[in-house]
């Protein structure tokens, strides 16, 4: 194979290195005085923007009721089969509600499909990214952990209405 000649040889200034070192150091010093991005977690908490997809939660209306009607679409669309919904009848006007709603957080991949498919705007991605468990059972979140008051979720819901 023929030896290829370099298309561009180093110039004289590059060859003596010193100006290049000065350039590099200039960048270093510039960054030293820039504002910091690192957060001292967990003392300081990172608050993500509304576009962030944390763990999915169920919207709880002001009257303490879930919005979910247990239609099962989220369970169907969920790629890793993380969601289990069991519907039942309620005396309330909406007729149907989930007696059981579980998300297995070990299965969830935070894709947001459940939120996208929900016809009732009942499941949304929260800002909660702090998920730690010590057993597999603990990783299965039931309604007690999933139901979240709507005022904590308003910015996500607004975001969805705008961009979904």
């Amino acid at each position: 194979m023929a030896v290829k000649k370099r298309t561009k040889d180093l110039t004289f200034w590059q060859k003596i290195y010193l100006p290049e070192i000065a350039k590099g150091l200039a960048l270093t010093f510039k960054n030293m005085v820039k504002p910091k991005y690192t957060i001292e977690y967990p003392e300081d908490k990172f608050i993500p923007p509304p576009s962030y997809r944390g763990r999915p939660v169920l919207v709880m209306e002001a009257d303490g009721e879930e919005r979910c009607v247990a239609c099962g679409l989220c369970a169907r669309v969920c790629p890793p089969l993380a969601i289990e919904v069991q519907a039942s009848e309620t005396e309330k006007e909406k007729e149907r509600y989930p007696v059981k709603f579980e998300i297995n957080m070990l299965r969830c991949i935070f894709c947001g499909f459940c939120e996208e498919v929900c016809p009732e705007e009942a499941i949304v991605m929260s800002k909660d990214y702090e998920l730690a468990f010590t057993s597999r059972e603990e990783a299965i979140y039931g309604k007690d952990k999933l139901l979240t008051p709507i005022d904590q979720l308003n910015d996500r819901i607004e975001f969805l209405r705008k961009y979904k």
């Binding site: 239609c71 007729e95 149907r96 059972e137």
Partner: protein, 562 residues
């Protein structure tokens, strides 16, 4: 033969057929709500509008007779526009509460809205509000807003059950369905209206909100509620049977099933508290769970202690042909000639639609499989007599709660020295038993049954057992089974440790030094088809989904229009 052309396809029709019928017979589906092949023509939904060449206006395919040389367009611009307009009209007052509605996923309106409608409504006004959640009868719930007034339910009661119970009241967009004053929708076939209702206006109260339709697996089976043997689909989720629906078979049940068959033939299979998990041996007054192997051994050893004429084998009209055949075969080999089964007749059950007085699914088959007294053997009534006389001391009984249905037998069974029972649930008979084997229910195994007309039909495993059927070859029965792990709360539950009766029999026979080698139920059926003339040449493949009639003595399919 006369022909018409539908969308460029030339098809033949019988004279007197309508366009929609001719199309259906040739596999062309013209959309329709109110038309049903078994009901009179109503022509009210207008979705089947088609264009016919040389006719000035569109016609409805359900009520227009096909004529020789007719040229029909179902997808011309005029027809498509008309269909879209009709869909938009029907959807004007439809609540669109699919997320709540049980019909979602198997709803004709939903389907057509995707396939044929424009996807938008110009109706901005308030929709009509009607009564929701009205119980029309013990089994059926009505939602007035979802009803599209197709009148199928009304015509079903009038024409098929011949008990008019439903009617329209009001007019225009206020029209709704009610029961006649002082009446309820309580006929024996009422749940069929939930199948034929094209929308979710009529729902099954027993199944309501239990599951979405796409979450269940379906398995083709046969109802065991009576000797009609209606073809059915078994719907299963998380290994529990949630509903049973009819499967079309013109030779048996057409499109229908009775409410008894739908509601009362599966709950005992789900019932964990009363299901027999594994094998049990009586010790003192209670039944103690035992390893299968030691129960087989114990059964065989105990049987060997008695003289052959002290033993009676009792088959069952609830068990499959395979189970009964094997029992008869073992009885013969073991030298037991006291062999019979109990018939269950309920003169109050039958009618002239589907229900039969013989409330067992397989008495025809039990007889054909050879469950009858051998030489010098006794029939059931004599067996009971002999037990009372102390002459018969041992009974081996297959899947039948005889003690419940025959008090005399219950008294006699209490006197037995040894009662071995195969049973699905604990019941009065198992209370008396010394050895109990947990038998797989009809929805958990392969096999065949023969209905009262002599039609051999298949049952298939719809529910998973702890020991999977070998014929499944490791195939899982549902999505949950397939992907679930032991850590998922939704999978791998409700699994019972029961075995098909033929497997249990084979294992007991082995301990009796009678070696049998069957891997799957069909092995037994193939042997039967060799030894029993009426089944000659049959196999599971030939039986297919709709079954075939048994043959008569000269090897012709059993008479009649079977």
């Amino acid at each position: 033969m006369a022909t018409i052309t539908i969308d460029g396809k030339k098809i033949e029709f019988k004279s007197g057929q309508t366009i929609i019928q001719a199309a259906k017979d040739n596999g062309i589906n013209i959309p329709h709500f109110c038309w049903h092949p078994k009901l009179s023509i109503s022509g009210n939904c207008r979705v089947c509008l088609v264009e016919v060449a040389k006719m000035p206006k569109l016609v409805i395919a359900c009520a227009t007779l096909a004529a020789d040389g007719m040229v029909v367009f179902t997808n011309s611009e005029k027809a498509v526009n008309a269909r879209n307009a009709v869909m938009e009209f029907i959807l004007i007052n439809h609540p669109l509460d699919c997320p709540i509605c049980d019909e979602a996923g198997e709803c004709k309106l939903q389907e057509y809205a995707y396939d044929y409608s424009v996807g938008e409504s110009r109706f901005k006004e308030e929709k009509q509000h009607k009564e929701k959640r009205v119980p029309l009868g013990p089994n059926v719930m009505f939602d007035g807003e979802r009803c599209i007034s197709c009148s199928r339910c009304i015509r079903f009661c009038d024409e098929i059950v011949k008990e008019p119970q439903l009617t329209f009241v009001q007019r225009g967009d206020r029209v709704t369905i009610v029961t006649y004053p002082g009446k309820e929708l309580d006929n024996d076939y009422s749940l069929n209206v939930t199948d034929i209702c094209p929308v979710g206006a009529l729902t099954n109260r027993d199944f309501r909100f239990k599951s979405r339709v796409w979450e269940m697996s379906t398995t083709k089976s046969v109802c065991t509620g009576c000797s009609r043997g209606c073809n059915s689909d078994i719907w299963v989720r998380n290994n529990l049977i949630l509903r049973i629906t009819p499967r079309e078979n013109e030779k048996v049940n057409s499109y229908w099933m009775c409410d008894h068959g739908r509601l009362n033939t599966f709950k005992n299979i789900n019932q964990l508290e009363t299901r027999i998990n594994g094998a049990f041996i009586k010790e003192g007054l209670s039944h103690v769970p035992t390893e299968w192997e030691s129960a087989y051994r114990k059964a065989a050893n105990e049987l060997k202690k008695y003289a052959k004429d002290e033993i009676a084998f009792i088959g069952s009209p609830f068990a499959t042909n395979e189970d009964n055949y094997l029992l008869a075969k073992i009885a013969k080999n073991f030298g037991v000639s006291n062999l019979d089964f109990m018939r269950h007749e309920n003169p109050a059950f039958g009618d002239d639609i589907l229900k039969r007085n013989d409330i067992t699914p397989n008495s025809f088959g039990a007889e054909l499989a050879g469950i009858r007294p051998g030489k010098n053997g006794f029939a059931l009534s004599e067996i009971i007599q002999k037990i009372n006389d102390g002459k018969i001391k041992v009974v081996y009984l297959l899947e039948d709660d005889i003690a419940e249905s025959n008090p005399e037998a219950a008294e006699a069974f209490a006197k037995l020295k040894l009662l071995i029972v195969h049973s699905v649930n604990f019941n009065k008979t198992t209370d008396l038993a010394h050895i109990i084997f947990g038998a797989a229910a009809y929805a958990e195994k392969n096999g065949t049954m023969i209905n009262f007309e002599g039609r051999v039909q298949r049952i298939r495993p719809a529910v998973a057992l702890a020991t999977p059927d070998k014929s499944l070859d490791g195939q899982k029965l549902s999505r949950q089974d397939k992907f679930g792990t032991e850590y998922d709360s939704w999978a791998q539950k409700n699994i019972k440790d029961a075995l098909p009766s033929w497997t249990i029999l084979m294992n007991v026979a082995k301990e009796l030094d009678f070696r049998l080698k069957y891997n799957i139920a069909e092995d037994i059926f193939l042997e039967m088809s060799k030894n029993i003339d009426a089944l000659n040449g049959l196999n599971y493949n030939i039986l297919g989904e709709l079954g075939v009639p048994v043959k008569d003595s000269i090897n012709q399919p059993l008479a009649k229009a079977l």
